[in-house]
Symmetry: C2
Subunit: 270 residues, 2 copies
């Protein structure tokens, strides 16, 4: 297992060509390769050279600001997205709100190729108008064309994303529309359905990101729904973590669900 745990492979599109050795980097969660055989019902003699691919970038940025109160949960979320999302990707803003996340995502996927897509949705017309206006102010017409906005519930995301689209990120801001009607909020039932849909369409190496605003009636219940969903995801295939401020009970909670990439030796670079 040592030989495995000392190897990390760069993220796509460098999948199959580049392998780095980081002998000092600890790769947790891989201490029991036999359990992978068992859980995946693989023949005992299958070479478990399967490895998670970590999004590595040359110079790493920072989440430390969160600890020291410099960065908000949403800013931390954006930093993480940047590690995962690439030009040309398909991503989903499950709750457009005022459009700041949609805009941030667009900047991450847009490039010359015009392949990138942002599918945005919100049940409130005002949210979509705000998002559209923000995009008008901030990006070119050509870039805005990459964003597709839909006035539907996020639980129906599968209906709007073309089949076989490689969705790299599904982002949620759970709660109410800032500046809007605080009585209109996301709710546990549809959030649960939306999470199940997101899980289904996300590609390995993708991320489900949730900023959960708990300061409204039903907010805590919704957080519990998210936590229960995350707790049920397989450790083999998902890394699920939660960042929370302990002495600010109404501060938003950040939940990140990262879908691992497994590769067998035939896919690995040398």
């Amino acid at each position: 297992m040592n030989c495995l745990s000392s190897r990390l492979i760069l993220k796509p599109p460098l999948y199959s060509t580049l392998t780095l050795n980081f002998p000092s980097i600890n790769v947790p969660f891989y201490s029991k390769p036999i359990s992978i055989h068992q859980k995946r019902k693989l023949p005992a003699n299958t070479a478990i050279t399967s490895l998670v691919q970590y999004p590595l970038s040359g110079a790493e940025e920072d989440l430390v600001g969160y600890v020291f109160g410099k960065k908000k949960a949403t800013e931390v979320a954006h930093l993480i997205w940047k590690r995962v999302v690439q030009n040309g990707d398909t991503v989903i803003d499950a709750t457009c709100g005022n459009g700041y996340d949609t805009l941030a995502m667009l900047k991450m996927v847009a490039d010359e190729s015009g392949r990138g897509r942002v599918y945005g949705m919100d049940i409130q017309g005002d949210a979509l108008k705000s998002t559209s206006s923000l995009l008008d102010e901030s990006v070119t017409w050509k870039e805005k064309e990459l964003v597709k906005l839909f006035s539907i519930c996020h639980s129906r995301m599968e209906e709007i994303v073309p089949e076989n689209s490689p969705v790299r990120l599904v982002a949620f801001n759970l709660g109410y529309l800032p500046g809007g009607d605080k009585m209109i909020t996301t709710v546990s039932e549809t959030t649960q359905l939306a999470l199940e849909a997101a899980k289904k369409i996300l590609i390995p190496g993708g991320l489900i990101s949730l900023v959960v605003y708990v300061g409204h009636p039903g907010g805590m219940e919704e957080l519990e729904t998210v936590e229960a969903f995350a707790s049920g995801l397989s450790v083999d295939n998902w890394i699920c973590c939660k960042f929370q401020m302990l002495n600010r009970p109404l501060a938003p909670v950040l939940v990140l669900l990262f879908k691992r990439i497994w590769m067998d030796s035939s896919q690995r670079g040398s």
Copy 2:
């Protein structure tokens, strides 16, 4: 408030001499200066130029690895410590265990001046022996002299740290000694007392760091004790955050309690 929120002051020893402008950096939790007057019972005309001092370093490192499963909670903790601890500081390893944290801390405080001190404690003699052996193997005799080891409960830390020592870090690993007797664990009652002691002796700008191993009987109760303690700390004076893996219920939980630095205009640099 804009003028305040756009200014950050570098950490000691640069306190009083250097002020930087970061117009784009968001400084949360400071949107209501008047409440600071009220809560601190300051005269209404006191210039609230008080600001938290953030440990800034030139090139920031990373916690992102935690999200992607690259880094363990203990490694994340060490990264955070490095942002806080400086050469010459006094720091406390409240649970020496096998000494890895003690060693890491020593490397952070040791310098030519010989002012740095690491006060280490553990109720188990074997833990102190392991720590001492690790230091023998890893550091010079002169460096080891900066470490003071005590066979006492961490709830009594105030007894061993000289009065008026500026304690910058108190670190806990809560649970049992790895490789030792798993029946001997830290317990909620003394951990509570130790946290209160740590709170008392920590200087502003200092950090209480806890890696809570919950995979033993009593582990969850101890985590609850830590969370309750953190939840009770004033938002004005403490930033308290928790990092947790949601689909690995027995994975260690990282809790970081950062004591803010407030300064009035007389202390600020120009």
